[in-house]
């Protein structure tokens, strides 16, 4: 029995095993680096028909979370742990001056990184919000971030230099019709997706800016506030590479979006700012604004986008496309209004400090190990 355990122990602490596992991990990473990750099954059948079935069967379409990869990582971690404990025991039995703890620190750091990664993978949350001026987003600690200023700085060439979001942190509004933050979507393989919600009612409610003294003729659902009320609170600035760190969460300036809203005028000249999903009552029916369509690649003068409406009148439905100046039912499409949306990523990752500690420990161990070795080489 002891012999079997001894053999197992020797096997698990073996340097040869470590070297072989490193090579296997590298080979698996090569496969993960070559095979596009996280695509739908159709993608693999169209791009690599001869091996698609195998790729999907062994889970190499999501290799870094596949059982094969995790099994090798688990074995590597075991090897690293047993090796570290064994080595540390040996070093501690030496006289203090002869001890070499660089490799121990390095290995310990790696073990902490691996466990820290597992914990962060299980517990971290992230959500991307696209919010306009005057809108607010709910934060994990119960506070609300009200956006008070959005700035996009550019170089002389027009290239983006910085995206800056300024806001104040304050308590949640007493009446929140949505009961949740402005819409957003979690990050996927292809980035984020704008939800219909976000382009619809919620933007209308908080960020529409009708002309002074006018009210929309037919608000879609929610009332429009022409002067969003910003409560007093702690001011903050968020920039790319300069995230805001709150109580247990971090807010990153993730990206920046520009969207356009068609502006209709009625026969009396009243302006109505529309958003995807806005419905307007018209005689004997209603009119739904669906979306804007970008024209084909411009040739010569730039062409304005087309606004697409679904007009329902006397039981018949008609799709209408309009450009500025065109008439839609009893309205005229006057212009487009531009709205800037700041893309903010709100992340909670309670175990990241552990990962960071592991990274720093591994770094310190690496430097210690090789400084000692180089001293030995030059001696």
């Amino acid at each position: 029995m002891n012999t079997i355990l001894d053999r197992l122990y020797s096997f698990l602490r073996s340097l040869k095993l470590a070297a072989v596992l490193l090579v296997i991990l590298a080979l698996l990473a090569v496969a993960g680096g070559i095979i596009p990750q996280g695509k739908p099954a159709d993608f693999y059948f169209s791009r690599m028909p001869s091996v698609a079935r195998l790729v999907l069967w062994i889970g190499f379409d999501r290799l870094f979370t596949s059982r094969v990869f995790l099994l090798v990582v688990a074995l590597f971690t075991t090897n690293l742990t047993v090796c570290t404990v064994h080595r540390l025991g040996g070093e501690l039995s030496k006289p203090r001056k002869a001890r070499r703890h660089g490799p121990d620190l390095l290995h310990l750091g790696l073990i902490i990184i691996i466990f820290g990664s597992l914990l962060t993978a299980r517990t971290r949350t992230e959500k991307i919000y696209h919010a306009g001026l005057g809108q607010h987003i709910h934060l994990p600690d119960g506070q609300v971030l009200y956006l008070t200023n959005l700035r996009q700085e550019t170089y002389e060439s027009g290239r983006v230099r910085a995206w800056i979001t300024e806001g104040v942190l304050g308590p949640a509004p007493v009446e929140d019709p949505h009961g949740d933050s402005v819409a957003g979507d979690t990050l996927g393989e292809e980035g984020y997706a704008l939800s219909a919600d976000m382009l619809g009612i919620k933007v209308l409610e908080l960020a529409s800016i009708p002309a002074a003294g006018e009210t929309p003729a037919a608000p879609a659902q929610a009332p429009v506030s022409d002067k969003p009320e910003i409560p007093q609170g702690k001011p903050l600035t968020i920039k790319v590479n300069a995230p805001f760190k709150g109580k247990g969460y971090t807010i990153y300036q993730y990206d920046w979006k520009t969207i356009i809203h068609p502006v209709l005028t009625d026969s009396e000249g009243k302006r109505i700012v529309l958003h995807g999903g806005s419905r307007i009552t018209i005689p004997q029916g209603s009119m739904l604004f669906m979306a804007t369509e970008e024209p084909p690649a411009p040739q010569g003068a730039p062409v304005a986008p087309t606004a697409v409406f679904l007009v329902e009148q006397q039981g018949t439905r008609t799709m209408v496309r309009a450009r500025p100046g065109d008439t839609v039912s009893s309205f005229t499409l006057a212009e487009y209004q531009t709205q800037y949306l700041s893309g903010l990523k709100v992340k909670t990752d309670p175990w990241f400090p552990l990962v960071l500690a592991g990274i720093l420990l591994a770094m310190a161990g690496t430097v210690l190990t090789y400084v000692r070795k180089l001293k030995g080489l030059s001696a």
Partner: protein, 260 residues
Amino acid sequence: MIATFAFVLLVLSQVLQGIWLFRTGARERVSPWVSLAAGLLLAVTVVQRSIAIQFFALTNLYESLLFLSMLAALMVFALAKLRQTADSKALPFALNIIAIIFLAIASSPLAPSDIRPPVPALQSGWLVLHVSFTFIGEIFFAVGLVTAILQLAAKDEEQRRRFDRLTYTSIAIGYPIFTAGALVFGAIWAENAWGRWWGWDPKETWALITWLTYTAYLHFRLVRKNTSRVMPVLVILGFLIAMFTFFGVNFLLRGLHSYV
């Protein structure tokens, strides 16, 4: 213009080294200084571009190649002056070729030289540390590549052992620097810029593959005799992977680093 002059100096250094490469006896002493001059001129170019873009010029392929070529040229000088490598003609000769190759690619259409200030994500001190440390580590890996090839080509055991020692020394210096640059500073920057310290982006994955290859080398060296052919082959492979991470991923596998 300055970079072109640096290129001419590197070619001149190459010619001088080439003439003396197969001669025995007296050493040629001019070429290290010519390479040093080329390296300093490239440093001036990097400073000039940094002023033009109002940030450290390490934000695209062209600037990265200038920086790498500069490091390689300075390394030629260092190798010619170091006690342990001063008697090797092949080592600075090969490093000089690498400097010329980097600069030649920089002047090709593959690396547009337009002066473009960095996008928001690139404006970080962590990026400067990430890229510069990675490249410094890779120049030591380049030295390892040459000594590993020389190790494989060595005719006697003594030469093989000498080149093995040089290979190990260069990797032992480059490995912690590369680890700090590519993985540690890269992770800290990614966390700061994108809110995730690791995301299996193609560039990250291939940087990890490079690191695993050199880690495997360092472990194999502990368990195998230093005359084994596996180890120099791993070092050569490691450098090829490092170069694929630098060039191949940019052109073949798009990801967050596609602007590099």
